[in-house]
């Protein structure tokens, strides 16, 4: 299992996050691996999280390469820096995207990024 799918499975299992008690919205992750597109839809309803593999429309779409998604799931990515350098593409509500970013883990002593100048979201 990839770190990415393990991350979404953990979210499914959690079901609720009190930090999102005042948040409603939907975010879809479009993860591109070569010619393959993997789509995860996250619905947030006052802290209740519902995760599905779905191509349904969402208020906010986050596009990343599989490589960057894996690094995010391992806690190695600073989301705002990655948005600024064009590795994570957000369409829709950037504020919600940044809040969602808090669901991802973070290793306290992140080493230098594995591939500092690569990882196009395609």
């Amino acid at each position: 299992m990839t770190a990415t799918s393990a991350f979404f499975e953990r979210l499914t299992a959690a079901g609720h996050d009190p930090r999102f008690n005042k948040v409603c919205g939907s975010v879809r992750f479009d993860i591109r691996d070569g010619d393959r597109l993997e789509q995860w839809l996250l619905d947030i309803d006052r802290g209740d999280l519902r995760v599905s593999q779905s191509a349904a429309p969402a208020g906010t779409v986050i596009r990343v390469s599989a490589q960057v998604a894996e690094a995010m799931a391992r806690g190695e990515v600073n989301g705002l820096a990655a948005i600024t350098r064009g590795e994570i593409l957000v369409d829709g509500d950037l504020n919600l995207a940044l809040r969602i970013g808090r669901l991802f883990p973070r290793t306290p002593d992140r080493s230098e990024r594995a591939d500092p100048d690569g990882g196009s979201p395609g």
Binding site: N78, G86, N95, P108, D117, G119
Partner: protein, 683 residues
């Protein structure tokens, strides 16, 4: 980092251009001149020549911050009288830069014009300029076609681009553009130059495009500035100096408003030109505290953006912890590639308590209970951060010691230069360090947090707990920091608990926070107003007689208007109205030497010796919390304070001002007026 005298700025939030007096930009690597957006320099060269000659300014009109007009003639100042040709460059900044160029022929003969504009873009990150770094990891590119010049920079998926086009036919080349025209006597020629800055994603969209779409039409800008000034209370006073500084402060606060990417178009104050044109936690919170009586609309977006970027995890590069409020947010290349930790950087220990202080103070003024409810979770997390993450030695204080050893800040208090915290004999204390004013902010945050918990959050147990903690902090602080033989509070505690014995302005903030027992206040005030700290203009950051004192030391002897405004607020809180008035008079009088625009800091030289405030070489200007300082000093002179549902007024004017009226002060009371008249002291 160098000061550049004679520069002209044109500002719109975090987009700005700094040029010389003729409108030209000729950057050398370490000087912050050029066209900037998103912490990146998009134009490093912008030089106009007419028939091979550079232009000289006869006059410059920069009375509107977003628009500058240069009246120029070819050649040096000595021979212009013989010139038949003159020109006007009118520049306006918004999301794009536009410059209208008009050339006149007032001579008797036909004139052939060769108009050349040299253009270059180095895409320097603001930190490359600050630290004079040259080697860029990515590659530049240039694209020339019949209608525009495009200069770009690419590093992996990071891409920034600037394009220059004109309304008249021009010849474009990789280094600029050229126009030719023939003017008969009395004729004029003009063109409009258009400079577009883009922060491009790999799919070709500007990642700021959603934000730009929310921006009101550029043509509404003058009206919006007028409305901003018209919405503020009216100042009625006989002092033209005070009127000037009040108006200048309002307009500069308008200029520094910028819309962060994730705030849906709402604007917050950027900290200041040229180095700090972005969101700083501390600066924006203190600016909002200063400006609540005048421009309260700055506060809700500031609290919201800081809440939305509040720390959630542990990260030793960003120095992020759950609940911690950010220090600095940048969008440039060094932040994007984490060569600098500003995406965002959390290395400050005062923004978290000040977040709670501002939320409470804002509610007292506005009655906006909804915002207190909306931000309950974030305010609780900020309060929890104080005890769970900041108490590095388990002694009940906020301490700091950087975890990012490469690029983090040594000192994470407002005096954040490396040598700002020292013993009286000049030694630097070890780490971690606990500065005194931060403990005051923590005390105040707990007291105010308790009020919010009891009044709005329906949690009296939490309120009692916060009050118990505040009372314990009060006692502990007054034992551990108080230097009985000196009669003041230690600047800080060393890592081993030893009091750092320097006399510094920080003790003034303790009065503002209310952590000083009333019986000790007069001894503290004697020091603040004594000759070692008080220069005649204001309270120095570090007292004369301390080993590291230098009247031009950034945090070691200069006078900071913002610092003084909070000290004056503290003095009034403890009943020292005439001392607060002396500070207000000194700082506001100093402002007249800077055309009403208080700089970040000025020299700590004695007022009677120099007779004018000495400019600090690299001081930023305009600076949000310096603009805010004059508004807070106005508040302290009027003695205005929200009291339940009305505004209490308790004026105390220094003799420099005979009469001040602030009309239509907004708040939970609707709009009310406050009046003050100087009362000669009774014999």
């Amino acid at each position: 980092m160098r000061d550049i005298p004679g520069t002209v700025s044109c500002i719109d939030g975090n987009t700005f251009i700094v040029s010389d007096a003729s409108g030209d930009v000729e950057s050398s690597p370490a000087t912050p001149v050029g066209l900037f957006a998103a912490d990146t320099r998009f134009l490093s060269r912008w030089v106009l020549t007419v028939n091979g000659q550079r232009l000289t300014a006869l006059s410059v009109d920069d009375s509107q911050y977003y628009e500058v007009t240069f009246f120029v003639v070819p050649g040096g100042a000595v021979d212009y009288v013989a010139e038949d040709v003159s020109a006007i460059r009118r520049r306006r900044i918004g999301p794009d830069l536009t410059e209208s160029l008009t050339i006149f022929n007032y001579g008797q003969r036909d004139v052939d014009l060769d108009v050349r504009l040299e253009v270059a873009a180095d895409f320097a990150d603001i930190f490359e300029i600050k630290f004079d770094l040259h080697d860029k990891a990515g590659s530049p590119y240039t694209h020339v076609d019949a209608n525009e010049l495009r200069l770009g920079y690419r590093r992996g998926t990071y891409r920034r681009e600037v394009s220059v086009s004109a309304s008249k036919p021009a010849t474009f080349d990789p280094h600029g553009l050229r126009f030719s025209a023939r003017l008969r006597p009395g004729e004029q020629w003009s063109t409009r130059l258009h400079v577009v800055m883009r922060a491009l994603r790999p799919d070709g969209l500007d990642f700021r495009s959603a934000l730009r779409a929310q921006r009101p039409d550029e043509s509404t800008l003058p009206a919006s500035v007028e409305a901003w000034v018209a919405d503020a209370p009216k100042l009625d006073t006989e002092s033209t100096a005070l009127q000037q500084v009040y108006h200048r402060s309002l307009v500069d606060l308008a200029a520094l408003r910028f819309a962060p990417l994730s705030l849906g178009g709402a604007t917050v104050p950027a900290a200041g030109l040229p180095w700090f044109m972005t969101l700083f936690g501390r600066d924006s919170l203190l600016t909002c505290l200063q400006t609540l009586p005048v421009t309260p609309s700055l506060t809700p977006p500031t609290l919201r953006i800081l809440a939305s970027l509040q720390g959630a995890r542990n990260d030793n590069v960003l120095e992020e912890d759950p609940g911690r409020i950010l220090h600095e947010l940048r969008y440039g290349e060094s932040a994007a590639f984490e060569e600098q930790p500003h995406s965002p950087y959390y290395g400050t220990v005062d923004a978290s308590p000040l977040f709670v202080v501002l939320l409470d103070e804002y509610e007292r003024w506005s009655g906006d209970a909804a915002l207190v409810m909306e931000l309950e979770q974030e305010a609780r997390a900020a309060l929890a951060w104080i005890d769970q993450y900041a108490d590095l030695t388990s002694t009940g204080y906020i301490w700091y010691e950087r975890r990012n050893h490469a690029t983090g800040l040594d000192n994470q208090c407002w005096k954040d230069s490396w040598d700002s915290i020292s013993y009286a004999d000049g030694r630097l204390p070890g780490f971690p360090r606990a500065t005194c004013e931060t403990q005051g902010y923590a005390y105040d945050a707990k007291i105010r947090g308790a009020r919010l918990a009891r009044t709005f959050w329906g949690d009296p147990d939490y309120a009692e707990r916060l009050e118990r903690e505040a009372a314990a902090l009060f006692n502990r602080f007054n034992t551990d920091f108080w230097l009985e033989d000196r009669g003041y509070y230690a600047l800080a505690l060393d890592g081993d608990g030893t009091p750092v014995d320097s006399l510094a302005s920080n003790i003034g903030h303790l009065l503002w926070s209310g952590i000083v027992p009333p019986e000790r206040a007069s001894r503290v005030v004697e020091h603040l107003m004594g000759p070692a700290l008080f220069s005649g203009w204001g309270v120095r950051t570090l007292a004369e007689g301390q080993s590291r004192y230098n009247p031009l030391g950034y945090h070691n002897g200069t006078v900071w208007p913002f610092d003084n405004s909070f000290i004056a607020w503290g003095l009034r809180r403890y009943g020292f109205a005439s001392e607060a008035g002396r500070i207000a008079e000194g700082i506001l009088c100093a402002a007249t030497y800077f055309q009403g625009r208080l700089p970040e800091a000025f020299g700590g030289f004695d007022r009677h010796t120099t007779r004018y405030p000495v400019r600090y070489p690299t001081a930023g200007s305009p600076q949000a919390w310096s603009s805010g300082a004059s508004l807070l000093l106005l508040r302290t002179m009027l003695g205005i304070n929200p009291h339940e549902d009305h505004l209490a007024v308790d004026p105390a004017l220094p003799s420099a001002f005979a009469r001040i009226a602030l009309l239509d002060i907004p708040g939970r009371w609707g709009k009310v007026d406050a009046f003050a008249r100087h009362r000669p002291e009774q014999p």
